[in-house]
C-alpha cells in the first residue's frame, strides 16, 4: 500500500474507533433484561411518550413552515438565497442553551410576545407546547437547508412543462415537485424526528424538566444520572436504539444520490 493511502486508512480507522467505542460501551453497560425492565417502567414510558409526542407534533409544523421556505430558497437567485440561508444559519450556530434563553425571552411571561399570549390565555413555558416550539426552533432551519438542496435536484424544465400543460404554480408544487422528491422528504422527516428526540439544552431551559409534562427521554437521562447512573445508562441505550432504528429507516428510504 502506498504511504498516503495508508495514512488515509489509518485516520479513518481511528475515527471509526472514536465513534464505535463509546457506542459499544453504552450498549455493553446494560443487559437486555435491564433494558426491558426500564422500558416498561411507567415513568420511563411517560418520558418516551412525551419525547415521541412532541417530535411528532412538531413535524407537521416543520413541514408547513419549512417546505415553502425551502422551495423559495431553492428558486431564489444567488444573492437573495445567500441572505435567506444566513438567516437560517442563525439558530444553527446558536448554542442550544442560548436558544432556550432566547425562546424564554420571546414567549415567556415577561417576554416580547408574552403579554400578547397571556391575553389570549396562552402560557407557553413549561408546557408540552414549549417542547414542540423548542424542537421547531432548532430543527426547522436544518430541515429547510436540506430540503432546499433536495428541491435543487429537480429539473426546472419539468416544472415548466407542468405549467405549459395548464397546471397552476401551486398545482405544480403539489402534484409534481413534492412527488418528485418524496423519498428525500420522507428521509428528511425522519431526520427531523431524530433531531427532535435528541434535543436537550433548549428544552430544559424553555420547557423545564417536569416529569409527566415536559420531561423527554433526554431530560430523564440527565435527572437519572444524578441519582442512579446505571439507570441513566439503560435510558441512554434505549434512546440510542431508537435513533439507530430511525437511521436505518432513513438509509432504506433515501435514494443514494439525494443524501446530503
Amino acid at each position: 500500500m502506498r504511504p498516503f493511502t495508508l495514512f488515509l486508512v489509518i485516520t479513518s480507522f481511528l475515527l471509526g474507533l472514536l465513534i464505535l467505542l463509546p457506542i459499544s460501551a453504552l450498549l455493553l453497560a446494560t443487559n437486555p433484561l435491564e433494558l426491558f425492565a426500564i422500558a416498561t417502567n411507567p415513568e420511563v414510558l411517560q418520558a418516551l411518550w412525551i419525547t415521541l409526542a412532541s417530535s411528532f407534533l412538531a413535524l407537521p409544523a416543520i413541514f408547513l413552515l419549512g417546505l415553502p421556505s425551502a422551495y423559495l430558497i431553492s428558486r431564489c437567485r444567488s444573492r437573495l438565497r445567500h441572505g435567506l440561508e444566513t438567516l437560517l444559519e442563525l439558530p444553527m450556530v446558536m448554542p442550544p442553551i442560548v436558544a432556550g434563553l432566547a425562546l424564554l425571552l420571546a414567549f415567556g411571561r415577561q417576554g416580547l410576545a408574552g403579554g400578547l399570549l397571556a391575553e389570549l390565555g396562552l402560557r407557553i413555558p413549561f408546557t408540552l407546547l414549549a417542547v414542540v416550539i423548542a424542537i421547531l426552533f432548532v430543527v426547522t432551519p436544518y430541515f429547510v437547508r436540506r430540503c432546499a438542496l433536495l428541491f435543487d435536484t429537480i429539473d426546472r424544465s419539468l416544472e415548466e412543462a407542468a405549467l405549459l400543460l395548464g397546471a397552476s404554480e401551486f398545482q405544480t408544487f403539489i402534484h409534481l415537485s413534492l412527488p418528485l422528491v418524496r423519498r428525500g422528504l420522507t428521509a428528511e422527516a425522519i431526520m427531523a424526528l431524530a433531531q427532535g428526540i435528541g434535543l436537550f439544552g433548549t428544552i430544559i431551559l424553555f420547557a423545564g424538566n417536569l416529569p409527566g409534562r415536559t420531561q423527554t427521554l433526554s431530560l430523564a437521562i440527565y435527572s437519572a444520572f444524578e441519582a442512579d447512573p446505571q439507570e441513566a445508562f439503560a435510558l441512554g441505550s434505549l434512546l440510542l436504539l431508537i435513533s439507530l432504528l430511525l437511521l436505518t429507516i432513513v438509509k432504506f428510504i433515501a435514494p443514494k444520490e439525494q443524501r446530503i
Partner: protein, 357 residues
C-alpha cells in the same frame, strides 16, 4: 384559424434577441445554428421568460404586450411546448404523463380517459400506455411528449429540436411520424432545429434565425433558390464558390478563386468579390467530360462519399471544392465509385446564383 404574430426584444448574454415573426397555421421550421436564440425565442413565446419589449398575439388574444402591461402566465397561454429534454415526469407512467394536463385542468375523469385513449390510439402508442417513462426509447419518449402536449388542445405548438437527441435510425422514423401527425394539426406549429437536413425533410415554411435576428423567412424552395446570406446558403448545404465578378464588354463574368470561369444568374452586376451558390442536388456527376449545351464543368477527385438513405453525398476537390448529391441509383450506375477517382461535376447556369459578398 389562429396566427401567431410576435415582435419581441430580449437581452441575452452575448447579444440582443430582436425578432419579428408571423407563424401561420401549419408547420414553420425555425432554423438556426446553436446559440442563435432559437430556444430563447420559444421560452419568450411560452411565457417562461419575459420579453423586455414587444407583443405576442395569438389570433385575437394578446398573450403579452409590454406597453399595455399584459403578460399571461404560461399556464394560461394554451401553448404546447415539447422541450428538447422532453421533460417527461419520471414518477408517472406514460398514460399518467399524458393525462397530467387534463387532470390539472380538472377535466372530469370519464372525459379525460376517453380523450387520452383516443389520442393514444391516433398517435399509435397504445402499447406504451402502462410503461414507465424510464424504460422508453428516445423515439418513444418523443411520441409521449407530443401526446402529453396535444391532449391539452394547445393553440400553438412549439417543438424544440425534436430529433436532435435521437440516433440516426430513430431519427428517420420519428421524422416520418412527426410529419404525418403535424400535417393533421390546424394550429401554428414552430419546429426548431439546427439541422438543415430537417428543413429538407419537412419542406415547409422556413424562418432562419441568426444572432437573435430572423435573417430570412419564406418557403423551403425560396430558401434554397434565393439564400439571402452566406449563412443561409451554407446552412442549406449549398455550395459556395468564392471569386470575382468583372465586366467584359459590359457583361458581368464570374471567375472563381481557383481560376475557373463559371456561369450563373447574376444577382448583382457590381464588379468585385462575389460568391456563386449552387445546391448539391443541382450538381450532376460524370466520369467523362460531357459535351453539348453550355454548362459549368468542374473536375475533381472524390474526397468524401456519404450514403444518406437513397441519396449519396459526394465531395469533389479539384480547383474548386464542390458537393454533389446524387441518387443511389445514379451511384450504382456509375459502378459505386470509391474515394480517389476523378469525376466531372456539372451544373446548369440557371441553377447557379452569383451574389455580392
Amino acid at each position: 384559424m389562429k396566427t401567431l404574430d410576435c415582435r419581441v426584444d430580449y437581452s441575452l448574454a452575448q447579444y440582443r434577441l430582436s425578432i419579428e415573426l408571423r407563424v401561420e397555421p401549419g408547420v414553420t421550421v425555425l432554423l438556426g445554428p446553436n446559440g442563435a436564440g432559437k430556444s430563447s425565442l420559444l421560452r419568450l413565446l411560452a411565457g417562461l421568460n419575459r420579453p423586455d419589449e414587444g407583443h405576442i398575439r395569438l389570433g385575437e388574444q394578446l398573450l403579452f404586450d409590454a406597453r399595455q402591461r399584459i403578460n399571461l402566465p404560461p399556464e394560461q397561454r394554451r401553448i404546447g411546448m415539447v422541450f428538447q429534454s422532453l421533460a417527461l415526469f419520471p414518477h408517472l407512467n406514460v398514460e399518467q404523463n399524458i393525462a397530467f394536463g387534463l387532470r390539472m385542468q380538472k377535466t372530469p375523469s370519464n372525459l379525460r380517459n376517453s380523450r387520452v385513449k383516443e389520442l393514444i390510439q391516433r398517435l399509435g402508442i397504445s402499447l406504451l400506455a402502462q410503461r414507465q417513462v424510464a424504460t422508453l426509447s428516445g423515439g418513444e419518449r418523443q411520441k409521449v411528449a407530443l401526446a402529453r402536449t396535444l391532449v391539452t388542445d394547445p393553440q400553438l405548438l412549439l417543438l424544440d429540436e425534436p430529433t436532435a437527441a435521437l440516433d440516426p435510425a430513430a431519427r428517420g422514423a420519428i421524422r416520418r411520424w412527426l410529419h404525418e401527425i403535424l400535417g393533421t394539426l390546424k394550429i401554428p406549429t414552430l419546429l426548431v432545429t439546427h439541422d438543415a437536413e430537417e428543413v429538407a425533410w419537412f419542406r415547409k415554411r422556413v424562418a432562419v434565425i441568426e444572432q437573435g435576428k430572423i435573417v430570412q423567412s419564406g418557403s423551403y424552395h425560396q430558401l434554397l433558390r434565393e439564400p439571402q446570406s452566406d449563412f443561409v446558403a451554407r446552412f442549406a448545404g449549398i455550395n459556395l464558390i468564392n471569386g470575382q465578378v468583372s465586366l467584359e464588354e459590359s457583361k458581368p463574368i464570374f471567375l472563381s478563386q481557383g481560376g475557373t470561369l463559371l456561369q450563373g444568374r447574376f444577382n448583382c452586376i457590381l464588379p468585385g468579390p462575389a460568391t456563386l451558390a449552387v445546391a448539391p442536388w443541382e450538381v450532376a456527376l460524370f466520369t467523362e467530360p460531357p459535351g453539348g449545351s453550355p454548362q459549368n464543368v468542374v473536375a475533381g477527385r472524390v474526397i468524401e462519399r456519404i450514403v444518406l438513405g437513397d441519396r449519396v453525398r459526394v465531395t469533389l476537390l479539384g480547383k474548386e471544392k464542390l458537393v454533389a448529391e446524387i441518387s443511389h441509383r445514379a451511384w450504382e450506375q456509375m459502378k459505386k465509385f470509391d474515394l480517389g477517382i476523378e469525376l466531372y461535376a456539372v451544373f446548369k447556369a440557371r441553377e447557379a446564383r452569383i451574389m455580392n459578398t
